[in-house]
Amino acid sequence: VAGFVFGWARHLRRRELRFLGLVALTLALILLYLDAGERQAHQEGRGWRTVDLDALKRRIGAGELSDREADWYRPQTPGANAGGEVE
């Protein structure tokens, strides 16, 4: 198999080699991008979501959802107060 591959590669022209190199480089970049995304997704502090704020406020106003302050959080802004924080 190795002999066949080397024989085939010897007959490749420079233009074809450049094209294959480009394909390999593109695949490597895609893999790096996916890996970076995967790592980022599991980092602490990531992962917040956008929410339909109008719908949420409307349903809180109608009493269908709650605005009860949560426990276990802290403000990121210096000097701000999180009344619901525990411990």
């Binding site: 956008t50 949420l56 999180a82």
Partner: protein, 326 residues
């Protein structure tokens, strides 16, 4: 501006004003984090204890089961995705049941226990905690059916009001957790150890998915870890996978795979290993680990024979069977 850092689960979401945590239901409104589903469950049922599954906790008794929208895991095979993978504002069905109403309804339905279940109760922590505290004052037990993706401090506080937990240990492999559940393994293991240290009755469930987490070597590592860290008498449930949600490309778990996993876990030193989601399987019954006497026969979610003594012992050899039987 006015961002907040949620410290409930290992994700530690930093949430800008107007945003929600990864769980979708803890929302930053004007710089304060709000538990938007507090007192607003979207699922309420009376289930048999065996459905949780808790096989060593008051077998056959009815359990008042409650859940709100949201979850901090995003499993590709989620069975409750219509509930767990949505925010409160997306739900069609929302009930109003503050902790007092919840406890009152549970008592009226003749339930001795409330289960915080279906989606992951970690994300409706405040609602579960307040309800559990009140339920305990009224003589009810509290059950936490969870993936245990929670930080130690909130969990320790919660353990003060919870009696038993069934923890869904999805695999004994961090890569699986990352790929399939968008989470990590170590916090779950830490939570299991903490629950045991805090004196909760703990049972573990492992959903076996063909080709993804049914490797016998991994099952042996998991069973050995449970034996060493939680104790050989910790019940382990192997549950059958059914194609769901974003994982419809795999077949249901063959019964033979469940049998092999059960045998492997028992050979690793666990005394009580069960098979779930398979109707009429011998592995869903409880046997005495000393002499093999049939103690509790189950068919589906129903207890059809209970031979335990009133003190929770084997009627033949008097071996004490661990659990909460009264």
């Amino acid at each position: 501006m006015n961002a907040v850092a949620c410290e409930l689960c290992p994700r530690g979401c930093v949430i800008p004003e107007g945003g929600a945590g990864d769980c979708r239901i803890r929302v930053n409104l004007a710089g304060k984090l709000r538990a938007t589903t507090y007192g607003r469950p979207s699922a309420i049922h009376v289930d048999p204890m065996e459905k949780k599954p808790l096989y060593h906790f008051r077998p056959g008794s009815p359990v008042f089961s409650v859940a709100t929208a949201g979850c901090n895991l995003h499993c590709l095979n989620c069975q409750n995705w219509q509930l767990s993978q949505r925010g409160g504002e997306e739900m069609e069905q929302i009930y109003r049941a503050d902790p007092a109403q919840l406890v009152e309804t549970a008592r009226r339905e003749g339930c001795q226990a409330i289960a915080y279940t279906y989606s992951d109760p970690v994300v409706f922590y405040e609602y579960a905690y307040d309800s559990a505290e009140l339920a305990r004052r009224h003589g009810l037990s509290n059950l936490f059916i969870t993936a245990a993706y929670i930080r130690p401090a909130p969990l320790r506080r919660l353990c003060g009001v919870i009696d038993a937990a069934n923890v869904d240990l999805k695999a004994f492999d961090d890569g699986f957790y990352r790929r399939v559940s968008s989470a990590t393994l170590q916090p779950v293991l830490d939570a299991l150890v903490l629950m045991r240290e805090e004196g909760l009755w703990v049972e573990v469930t492992n959903l076996l998915i063909p080709t993804l987490n049914d490797d016998l070597a991994m099952i042996r590592r998991m069973a050995t870890w449970i034996r060493d860290e939680l104790g050989a008498q910790t019940p382990l449930h192997f549950s059958r996978f059914h194609p769901q949600y974003r994982m419809r490309n795999l077949p249901p778990t063959p019964a033979a795979t469940l049998d092999r996993a059960r045998r492997e876990a028992m050979d690793s030193g666990l005394d009580y290993v069960y098979v779930g989601n398979v109707m009429g399987h011998e592995g869903s019954s409880t046997f005495c680990p000393v002499d093999g006497t049939l103690l509790i026969r189950r068919t589906g979610f129903w207890v059809t024979e209970n031979n335990l003594t009133a003190e929770g012992r084997c009627p033949e050899c008097d071996e004490p069977i661990p659990g909460v039987w009264k």
